[in-house]
Subunit: 338 residues, 2 copies
Amino acid sequence: MNLPSPNHALDLRIATAAIASRVETAMRGDLERTLTGCDSLLGEVVHHALFTGGKRVRPLLTVLSSHCCGRDDDDLYLLAAAFEYLHVATLIHDDVIDQATQRRGSATVIARFGLTAAILGGDWLYARSMYLFGHLAGPQGLQIFCKAILSMVNGEFVQLRLACDTTTSKQQYFEVIRQKTGNLIASACALGALFAGADDLRVQALSTYGDLIGAAFQIVDDLLDFQGDSENTGKKTGNDFAEGKMTLPLLHALERADATDRCRIEELLAADRANPASYRQMTALIEHYDGFEAAADTARHLVDQALAALAPFTRAGSVDANVRLLQELARYILIRNK
Amino acid sequence: MNLPSPNHALDLRIATAAIASRVETAMRGDLERTLTGCDSLLGEVVHHALFTGGKRVRPLLTVLSSHCCGRDDDDLYLLAAAFEYLHVATLIHDDVIDQATQRRGSATVIARFGLTAAILGGDWLYARSMYLFGHLAGPQGLQIFCKAILSMVNGEFVQLRLACDTTTSKQQYFEVIRQKTGNLIASACALGALFAGADDLRVQALSTYGDLIGAAFQIVDDLLDFQGDSENTGKKTGNDFAEGKMTLPLLHALERADATDRCRIEELLAADRANPASYRQMTALIEHYDGFEAAADTARHLVDQALAALAPFTRAGSVDANVRLLQELARYILIRNK
């Protein structure tokens, strides 16, 4: 079992808060320089999107990965900020696609500022993140980063294609989440390491770690969409089901279901998925076939593999405090409730 | 007067077609390499957006600018393709914002493939264009490129703010079109020159040329929105008026109008602008105050300035064929009807 110990969890909270604060300082400084003379609405949109909550997971991973490899300076926090810019750009555009009104307990950009501001604000953050990458991480860094974005967009297209498709295999599911989430989280880790001048072994280890916790993170997201408390998560449950997303708990239930229940699941996916009664029935069916527990098991297994991937950093015996934070972060993913 | 001579216009058409063909070959090759293994819908979206017409003005400028400075190889066409990717990404997102159904005489991406595909397809092209820039043009190139994108987005925000604002000054108008169009066209020229290793004088000359023809291009766009033939332009006239854009012909009319007509213009802007009768009345008012002719004069003046900016390339006496093509292209902008 990989549950966080209370002390280590506290260390993680303290370190996370300190890093998030420096990343936020870097973002505010960068925005102040870049947005000077720009339209005030653009500034409002970007600030609203960036500073309304957010777990700062991606920048945290960049910073910790770089720390594990021995670098810590102001530019690192700006590089980390670029990951947050990119992440938030994708969230703004996702909320346009989903016509979502709530994100992190606040109004989404599209709900508050309208369609034009949401599309253009997202585009601005995309461009700014790539600028920072090209500037700070050089051609190799930009290449990793852009490939991760291309892969992420492709993952969204594949997910769209597989919507409501009950023949979706678990392999297809894992491929989608690797493309949508894993690659970018892997590149947040890898680029932190590269930025610190780490050797290939360490870059690869952190990249694998990121890939695996990215997958675990996504599975926990799937679970929260069914089991989360919207007061904690800041968004409505049932979104994935309403969009016909074939998430892991559902795929597990489909795999186990008898013919009658399989038909029932197919009917629920084909009918009005925004209906709360359908959502409740789907939740009960997944529960009946242990879909939630099976998905949670998979997430735990991925976190175990992620911890094993950190071997190049743990072989020496005494484990560096930064590596311990990466370990804690991986374990935290399993118990997060937002 | 800067009207193109028939022979030079023919040279321009032949050169344009040859360059466009090589740019298209570069795009097809790049997409084949990049989209292999990707979702087929993503490929369809990107191909539909890129290969349904398009004047290829931006890549043409990159190629001609580079030719003027002595470089011509395969990578140049890929760099030029990146400008087309970026341009088309902005068009896809613009069509989402405007809910446009027609572009270049075909269905827009949003009309044909839906919202998700349009937002994500645009994001993909943004990311791919930046990847190519970082890869081919180095940090300096990426910096110029990203700054132009940031400025373009800001220009859109300022334009949004000024919608229907009859106190908009011509200076504000020129600032918006410089940010929205001029900067990117200037960077298409500057990056072609930089790619060829040109000195600062030549880079700056081509950048200024691009900035000025970009402004002229936008003014002609304003005119075509009132006076164009939708069979030629491939899009409905009256879009700008419907969106409340304060274009140059309208600003000129506002400047000249007597109190009664000024009130009338304000009323038309405040009422249902999608009404064809309002559009006809607005057109008549602008006509009455010579707004179209004044805007065309301004475009001609900008093209004269653009031609003058090419001085570092024309001082030697005999003018290089590539420089002559840039001159022709500038003149062509004034007589384009699509």
